[in-house]
């Protein structure tokens, strides 16, 4: 087995229970793996949440991780997106601080790349940009470092383009899901 590390994007539907995040984190931590990004949001059905996790690792170990995530009682589904069929988006908030050159150049560059200004005062501008993680990486590297005061990124969120294993839980008629917990 080739031991090349790849970034994997894992989607989960989980029961919305205290401790579920710890259980999931432990599956990674036990194997010495780091979670690179994590996004949690309510699912389409009350009582369930949707998570997107990105992590680096060899395909064999990631496969074991997904199996062990699936094995957790509070995890309803877990899947490792191959990358081809998945639509990936990320949001970043970038705070720029004015220096001697002012902010106009940086703001113009950001707008050119599709970012919007969501806040502005005398010395600072906050930009919001969304898109693929690579596009955001590109924008950030082209902004001058001395302008950037703070960056907050949402981490990747992912959805399958076609029919997904999660269809039941994402708004379609649930088959295997009981009524929401009281």
């Amino acid at each position: 087995m080739a031991a090349t590390d790849h970034t994997h994007t894992i989607s989960l539907v989980v029961r919305d229970k205290p401790g579920v995040l710890v259980r999931i984190a432990l599956v990674f931590a036990r194997r010495g793996f780091n979670i690179e990004s994590l996004s949690v949001s309510p699912g389409a059905i009350e009582g369930f949440s949707r998570m997107t996790i990105t992590s680096n690792g060899t395909p064999g170990v990631l496969e074991q991780i997904v199996k062990h995530l699936s094995k957790l009682v509070d995890v309803v589904f877990a899947t490792d997106h191959g990358g081809d069929d998945a639509l990936e988006e990320e949001v970043a908030l970038v705070k720029l601080r004015a220096n001697a050159d002012g902010l106009a150049g940086a703001v113009a560059l950001a707008r050119e790349r599709g970012a919007s200004v969501v806040h502005q005062d005398d010395g600072r501008v906050i930009l919001c940009c969304h898109g693929g993680s690579e596009a955001i990486d590109g924008l950030l590297s082209s902004l001058e470092h001395d302008h950037v005061e703070e960056i907050v990124r949402s981490g990747k969120i992912v959805i399958d383009r076609g029919e997904s294993d999660f269809a039941d839980l994402l708004g379609g008629a649930p088959k295997s899901v009981p009524p929401p917990a009281r």
């Binding site: 539907v13 029961r15 205290p18 401790g19 710890v22 259980r23 432990l26 036990r30 369930f48 064999g60 496969e63 074991q64 199996k67 062990h68 699936s70 094995k71 009682v73 509070d74 995890v75 309803v76 589904f77 295997s176 899901v177 009981p178 009281r182």
Partner: protein
């Protein structure tokens, strides 16, 4: 829990658990008060392994709960159904460093199949029902329920929750037909088949089906430490235990087979040695109820997800006798060429004592063990004939397991003779349960293989560390017979080989309560065969090597 059919709860009381202990006063459930929470968990584990029903533990918060961690790990690693109730500080005190507060669900996440922290009394019926269902279904395991004192003090009028519904929790039963057909096709091509039977076969009661399969195919059988008893180890083509300290003939069969089928076994590192060199040329079929076991260590050509018994029963009608007579004869020859043995003379030998224990009990006793040399010798010499008659901590390798497990097993099966085979090291970790056994007049028999060493570690230091002994000398051991007598427990010494049969027979026939046999065996004996950890099976040592050994690459 009465509705779940719970007979016994093993536990130790404490402040935060008092409302539950109070409820037990009026309950049909019998409380077995232990002397340490670890003992309670191993008793529940022994009860569970002896019956297949969940063992139940009740302890208090804080240290009471943390003392169950070893027992939880032991049960998780060996897929034992167990429900552990822990008292907890009242919910309004959670996170405030209250007296005897510990984040018990947090501490135990990695050692449970699932756990609950109940904060609303209305959840109690649902949680208990789910816990028992999860503990015993699919791949069994321990489930912990943390119960704050205000929750257990409040009246509960919540209705019966009905059967548990846990979305995404699937219990595999029968394997897909296409995969079964593929397996049958591969089996039909084999001339040197081998059935490798693990704890999953014990848990699912697959023994009879596996025995039929072995006969129908003409396939020899080997089992893991925990698979002992699924298939009668005294049956004709059974080659005993495989792996690190398995029989030479079992391991030679593994080396020589052209097809190996794991039946509820997980290619553990004790079995495979060096994974890259394990059965590389053989067709590998893997039956397991846990899909996470597939391709975890050894990859397989066919993966049959399901209950071991049901999957083997699916296979049975699709297979027929293989052209394996030459292979069976070869395996029989291995058995003649490399028999298990031990030196005759040179003092009292553990192997001799265990060989005679097997003879004395006629293989009809339930045997529990601790962990170490005595465990491996017992596995080699005490052949297990029936399911759930051999209880040993395999995955976790928990010293201190054997004696309390025997107590739990004896509660579960009062009419079965129960022997706890332990070492002098492990026994001292949980010997306070002598009081528990004595109070209930349980006829548990304890056989201490006493070499005044932590013998397995000493063996490794002798073989791999230039005999630089470190941390293995148990100087200061008590006179175990006197210790037993202090608890009102009958004790026997064995010093000479000539005393073995007489003492074992007397102890075996003694049913007035627990009794303890202390066998003073030679101090520096080694367990063979041995495959050094991480080495390929071909490197098996049948006897003590003449040359200096390299340090093993595998763990322990």
């Amino acid at each position: 829990m009465e509705q779940q059919g719970v007979e016994y709860i093993f536990g130790l009381s404490g402040g935060a658990a008092m409302p539950i202990f109070d409820a037990l006063v009026d309950s049909s459930i019998k409380l077995i008060l232990t002397r340490h929470e670890q003992g309670a968990t191993h008793m529940a584990d022994g009860y569970a392994r002896a019956t297949g029903r969940p063992g139940v533990v009740l302890v208090t918060s804080g240290p009471g709960a943390t003392n169950t961690v070893t027992g939880l790990l032991t049960a998780l690693m060996d897929s034992v159904p167990m429900v552990v109730l822990t008292g907890q500080t009242p919910s309004f005190n959670l996170g405030k460093d209250a007296f005897q507060e510990a984040d018990v669900t947090g501490i135990t996440y990695p050692v449970v199949k699932h756990s609950y922290l109940v904060t609303d009394v209305r959840d109690v019926p649902r949680v208990v029902s789910e816990a028992f269902y999860l503990a015993q279904s699919g791949r069994p395991g321990p489930v912990l329920i943390d119960l704050p004192k205000d929750v257990t003090s409040a009246p509960c009028t919540a209705p019966d929750p009905g059967p548990p519904e846990i979305p995404g929790y699937v219990v595999p039963a029968r394997a897909p037909k296409a995969e079964i057909a593929k397996a049958a096709e591969l089996i039909a091509k084999s001339r040197r088949p081998l059935l490798y039977v693990g704890h999953g076969a014990v848990i699912s009661g697959a023994g009879e089906a596996v025995t039929q399969l072995a006969r129908k195919l003409g396939a020899p059988v080997v089992n893991t430490l925990l698979g002992k008893g699924a298939v009668d180890e005294t049956s004709e083509h059974h080659l005993g235990m495989l792996g690190m300290h398995g029989t030479a003939y079992a391991n030679k069969a593994v080396i020589g087979c052209d097809l190996i089928m794991a039946i509820g076994a997980r290619w553990d590192d004790r079995i495979t040695g060096k994974v890259d060199a394990f059965c590389t040329k053989a067709t590998r079929i893997h039956i397991d109820i846990d899909p996470a076991e597939f391709d975890k260590t050894v990859t397989s050509h066919v993966q049959l997800l399901g209950d071991a018994r049901q999957v083997v029963e699916q296979l049975l009608p699709l297979v027929s006798r293989l052209d394996s007579d030459a292979w069976l004869a070869e395996c029989a020859q291995y058995r003649r060429d490399f028999p298990l043995g031990y030196p005759d003379g040179g003092g009292l030998r553990a192997q001799h004592v265990l060989d005679r224990l097997n003879a004395t009990t006629e293989g009809k006793a339930l045997i529990t063990t601790d962990v170490g040399q005595h465990q491996m010798w017992a596995a080699q010499f005490c052949l297990t004939r029936e399911n759930r008659m051999w209880l040993s901590s395999g995955g976790a390798g928990t010293m201190g397991y054997g004696f309390p497990a025997a107590i739990g097993a004896q509660f579960a099966r009062p009419d079965t003779p129960v022997w706890a085979v332990v070492g002098d090291g492990g026994f001292q970790m949980t010997l306070s349960e002598l009081a528990t056994a004595a109070i209930h007049k349980l006829p548990v028999k304890i056989l201490i293989i006493n070499n005044n060493y932590l013998g397995m570690v000493r063996q490794w230091q002798e073989l791999f560390f230039d005999n630089r002994l470190s941390g293995v000398d148990l100087e200061g051991n008590p006179d175990f017979v006197k210790l037993a007598e202090a608890y009102g427990v009958k004790g026997f010494h064995i010093h000479e080989p000539g005393e073995v049969d007489r003492v074992l027979q007397e102890a075996h026939g003694y049913n007035g309560g627990p009794c303890l046999v202390e066998a003073h065996v030679v101090k520096e004996d080694n367990v063979f065969p041995m495959i050094p950890a991480g080495a390929p099976l071909e490197d098996m040592l049948i006897e003590r090597p003449d040359k200096k050994m390299d340090k093993p690459v595998g763990s322990t």
